[in-house]
């Protein structure tokens, strides 16, 4: 007992006078605010069922007593994702950001205070008014002090779907109306391919409809899955997934025709199709493809007519392939030395591909590696040599694993959405060049470390701006960016970091001002169903009222704009429902031009969705059939109008790390590569039980963690050599960082490779300390943070070698989810 107790105990206050004085009663009135009112409960949404949607699918929410109690997949969803359960869970997570919060040192001492303690500092609650005043004051100060390039608002991430509450657009809309800012180009998924493919195919390729699954089931004789796991990744969609790939894959499987999976991991898809599994060393795919190409050429299995009529530059590539230009013929034997797949198998693949109608599908892991641009360029070259591009079921496809590419399409209208308010610029929207400056987004840490220094990007040389403030909404760079320790240090340079989110992600923990955003289930929106099929428009109805003091990003940016004197420009005088109705009515006009009937908005909103029938054209779509039919009338968007196996434009750029034709180059580090310092490759696949880092903080974790950590697949021999047993906690480490993980010992991964899926929440045992052990398992502690090449400057999230050992120290608790069960 503290000393004071004696004095209090001796105090002569009788029971009778306990709180009898008016003064004391008055004190109580000031100390205890009235928490209850004599009235009905806060206006809540009515009990019943609400139809809504998410990245994981459309669903019906059951609301009881004003609470969301159950989530049921839409009956029209052919393959609902088990992750839906985590959606409901995320809304009611104890780790919700409940109130506006400010880092203590920042609140007490202002911008730039104690930046080195970001990530370990305490937060305190402030009122919305105080929080928004801080944000507005800082936006103004940074602009006045450092100019328009002082603020980075290139915020990236898997924001929620919905045409209105597109937080990235809303942020840039607020910033564009206010003035200017540093923007970003590209994304972490396909950063290399989306820059090289326009040079090669004249389109992005990665986000486009594929030859449909019914066509594949009917015509394809061999389906190759090169570095992808479509059974896993098609669960999610950038908008609302229709899961059309699942019946498509089932239909192909039912034909009994073969599938080959080329992957370091025997994937769920490999098991589903009972496919042949070929496991080259990671990052050596270009060499393996060259070996196949060389065999095709040597054995005259290549389609010279196709190469002649539809492609440009094979003649300039050929000397490299056969070794005339560099003295190294890219034979199957040469490739086998590099990729470890036997030369006979490489030759067999070449003959097999040439003998059948072959679809070469590939995921994006291949291009999230050093020199990632070369992978899909070489895959396209291989497909050109096979000569089946534009034929039903042949060619190549870079989106069969994503958002159900190949799901047959409808002829419905396209919904517009809220714009970022920036000036229209030439080129694709995904390579936005609005803003005072634009950086390739995966180079954000390079930018922070090297203001004023030059960087190359797709033929241009620019200087990194000197950014002092970062504004991030609906994204988690402390999950998706590489080399976590380097990033933590670079973040310390920033004077102010503002984050909107609904959960305490690592990014929120490393911020100064944290604003509580609603989940998309606490606001109304509208979105399309089927990323490629566009089979329906769905009203994403609010299910429950905003929790705690959460506000929608639209409301937050409206309020900020109002404080900057720009409210009218930001909202255009329209409410949430006005905007939604406007998008719908725009679609109605398009539909009417196509003689398609749509119900009026009220009838649509009441029913919850409007469907559009799949057309015969949509069902039988064959990618590049038009081009094949008439390459002169339907030229590609490349300089030559043909598929460019050699690019004069890239040649002009003169990059030594991105030559003008597909080329094998040693990555900065790889399994058994020259001077490899560590013995294992770390592959960082997309997880089965979450969307990148989303839903990691939910009940779904119980479906995949090992020893409460992110699982690590390790080959039986590699585990035995290290005394690691199934279920052990292991430490994965290299010179960049270290993380704990739970071992799953298996033969479903090739020797020399371990796998930890990306998106595990960063959980440093000593936040802010360089090289801190990560208790949960964020694999980006060990990945390399360099650009794929001067061309695309994309991330290399699959480039990492490391070692692993059984962890024998005192096991730190996993704290990042703040689950009470751990306390």
């Amino acid at each position: 007992m503290p000393k004071g107790s004696t004095r209090f105990a001796q105090n002569d206050v009788s029971r009778r006078t306990f709180l009898s004085s008016t003064a004391a009663a008055g004190v109580l009135a000031t100390l205890a605010p009235s928490l209850l009112t004599a009235s009905a409960a806060r206006a809540a949404v009515a009990d019943g069922e609400v139809f809504s949607a998410s990245h994981w699918g459309a669903f019906t929410a059951t609301v009881q007593d004003g609470q969301w109690t159950k989530i049921t997949p839409w009956e029209k969803d052919p393959h609902p994702s088990h992750q839906l359960e985590g959606v409901l869970d995320s809304v009611y997570s104890p780790t919700r950001i409940k109130y506006p919060m400010v880092r203590r040192a920042y609140l007490e001492n202002g911008p730039g205070s104690s930046n080195e303690t970001r990530g370990q500092d305490d937060f305190v609650r402030v009122s919305w008014d105080q929080a928004l005043e801080l944000v507005v004051k800082e936006l103004k100060r940074v602009e006045e002090t450092y100019g328009p390039t002082g603020t980075y608002a290139g915020s990236y991430g898997w924001k929620s779907p919905g045409k209105l509450h597109n937080c990235q657009n809303l942020l840039r809309r607020m910033m564009n109306i206010k003035g200017n800012f540093v923007n970003s180009a590209g994304d972490y998924s396909t950063g290399a391919s989306q820059v090289i493919m326009p040079h090669v195919m004249g389109t992005l390729e990665v986000y486009e409809q594929q030859t449909t699954w019914p066509v594949v089931a009917e015509h394809t004789e061999l389906f190759v899955i090169w570095g992808a796991d479509p059974m896993v990744t098609n669960q999610i969609g950038w908008i609302i997934p229709d899961h059309g790939a699942y019946p498509g894959m089932q239909a192909y499987k039912d034909t009994g025709k073969p599938v080959i999976c080329i992957d370091p991991v025997r994937t769920e898809s490999c098991d589903f199709f009972d496919a042949e599994w070929i496991a080259p060393k990671p990052q050596t795919d270009v060499a393996m493809m060259l070996g196949i190409a060389h065999t095709l050429y040597e054995e005259k299995l290549h389609d010279a007519d196709f190469l002649d009529e539809y492609t440009f530059g094979f003649d300039k590539f050929l000397p490299y392939l056969i070794g005339e230009s560099d003295g190294v013929p890219k034979t199957a034997e040469w490739a086998a030395e590099i990729c470890s797949v036997p030369a006979d198998k490489i030759k067999e693949l070449a003959r097999l591909f040439a003998s059948k109608r072959t679809m070469l599908s590939s995921g994006w892991s291949l291009q999230r590696q050093h020199h990632g641009e070369q992978r899909h360029w070489m895959l396209v070259t291989l497909a050109c040599m096979l000569g089946q591009i534009g034929l039903p079921g042949g060619g190549f496809g870079l989106s069969y694993h994503y958002s159900s590419g190949g799901s047959p399409g409808a002829s419905g209208p396209v919904l517009s959405g809220i714009t970022d308010g920036g000036k229209a610029v030439d080129g694709a929207a995904w390579l936005t060049e609005s803003g005072a400056a634009t950086i390739p987004l995966a180079r954000v840490v390079d930018m922070l470390e090297g203001p004023g220094s030059d960087f190359n990007f797709n033929g241009k040389t620019q200087k990194y701006p000197d950014v002092k403030m970062v504004y991030w909404v609906g994204g988690n760079p402390f999950a998706h960016h590489q080399d976590r320790n380097r990033m933590v240090k670079a973040w310390q340079k920033l004077e102010t970091v503002v984050v909107h989110d609904f959960q305490w992600t690592a990014t929120a923990r490393f911020a100064d001002i944290v604003l509580p955003a609603t989940t998309s289930y606490e606001r109304n929106d509208i979105e399309q169903y089927g990323d490629y099929s566009l089979k329906a428009i769905i009203g994403m109805k609010k299910i429950v009222d905003p929790l705690f003091e959460a506000r929608s990003d639209f409301d937050i940016f409206t309020d900020i704009s109002a404080r900057l004197g720009n409210e009218r420009a930001f909202t255009e005088g329209k409410t949430e429902l006005d905007w939604i109705k406007g998008f719908y009515e725009g679609a109605e006009k398009q539909a009417s031009a196509k003689n398609t009937e749509m119900p009026d908005f009220d009838a649509f909103w009441d029913k919850g969705y409007v469907e559009f029938p799949v057309t015969e054209e949509g069902r039988t779509y064959v990618r590049y059939a038009d081009f094949r039919e008439d390459p002169l009338l339907e030229p590609l968007g490349t300089p030559s109008g043909l598929i460019e196996i050699y690019s004069n434009n890239i040649e002009k750029m003169g990059y030594d790390d991105c030559p003008p034709h597909p080329t094998w180059m040693e990555p900065v580090e790889r399994l058994d590569g020259p001077n490899a310092k560590f013995p294992l490759h770390v592959t960082t696949s997309h997880p089965r039980g979450r969307l990148h880092s989303q839903l990691n903080g939910t009940v779904l974790r119980k479906t995949y963690t090992v020893a409460d950590r992110e699982p690590c697949l390790i080959n039986t021999d590699d585990a035995a050599a290290r005394g690691i047993a199934d279920g052990d906690i292991v430490r994965i480490f290299n010179d960049r960082g270290q993380l704990l993980s739970g071992a799953t010992v298996t033969d479903a991964i090739r020797p020399g490779v371990i796998r930890v899926c990306e998106g595990g929440w960063y959980d440093p045992v000593e936040p802010g300390t360089d090289g801190s052990l990560d208790a949960y398992g964020d694999v980006n502690n060990v990945t390399v943070d360099i650009g794929t090449s001067s061309l695309a400057q994309a991330n290399c999230g699959h480039t990492a070698i490391a070692d692993v050992e059984k962890f024998t120290g005192e096991v730190p608790a996993v704290k990042v989810f703040s689950t009470p069960a751990n306390a």
Binding site: F18, A24, R125, W504
Partner: protein
């Protein structure tokens, strides 16, 4: 003995019980403002604390308050220290261990907010024509709402017209304490102890738990 406490064996009058419940509700409802600290330091505040200290379960809390307000630290600075602990424990900030102040978290394997306990507490409030104030955007199973509801029930009992009615009022209180607060506040306290063993809010939770258990025993 005065009329109001005739029919129950406890040591506090109904207004006293209500006052304690209200006070505890206020402590867990919001961070302590600099003004509240000034109040505790003033004469009226001292009297208030001394009076609260006459009830033994509250002594740890009144001692702790006396100790932290006795120093020379400015009200703003002290308020900041307490706010930081409040945010870490109750608002889910940062990766530190926390003690979410909601029954749902402790009464379900999922550890989620807004489970059936939230609706059940709302139902109990609704039965008396009450709801959570718009100024307090928290679910009904927040510790402070449940404590404030007990304060309300205690005040109601004071108005009871007859001894029989009074017994009925006590029964309502007994049931609410048994089904709601007593089912989880010790687990909540465990979390406070784990997360912040010597902190003010852990002491407040110690006094709160002791008081509620003592009150239930006397009902």
């Amino acid at each position: 003995m005065e009329q109001a406490i005739d029919t129950r064996p406890g040591t506090l009058t109904a207004p006293e019980r209500a006052a304690v419940y209200d006070w505890l509700a206020g402590i867990f409802a919001r961070e302590m403002s600099p003004q509240a600290i000034e109040t505790y330091r003033g004469n009226n505040g001292r009297t208030f604390l001394n009076q609260m200290a006459s009830h033994p379960p509250l002594v740890p809390l009144t001692d702790h308050l006396h100790r932290i307000t006795a120093g020379r630290e400015s009200p703003e600075s002290l308020s900041m220290e307490l706010s930081v602990r409040f945010a870490s424990l109750f608002l889910g900030a940062g990766g530190k261990r926390s003690a979410p102040p909601y029954e749902s978290v402790y009464s379900n394997d999922s550890n989620l907010l807004y489970q059936k306990q939230t609706a059940q507490t709302q139902a109990a409030l609704s039965a008396f024509g009450l709801s959570v104030s718009d100024l307090f955007p928290e679910p009904p199973d927040h510790i402070s709402v449940q404590l404030a509801f007990m304060a309300h029930l205690a005040r109601r009992a004071e108005q009871a017209a007859s001894s029989r009615h009074l017994q009925e009022e006590y029964e309502v209180q007994r049931v609410f304490l048994a089904t709601r607060l007593l089912s989880w506040i010790e687990k909540f306290l465990d979390h406070c102890v784990n997360a912040d063993p010597d902190g003010f809010y852990t002491t407040a939770a110690v006094s709160m738990v002791t008081f509620v258990k003592d009150d239930a025993a006397h009902l």
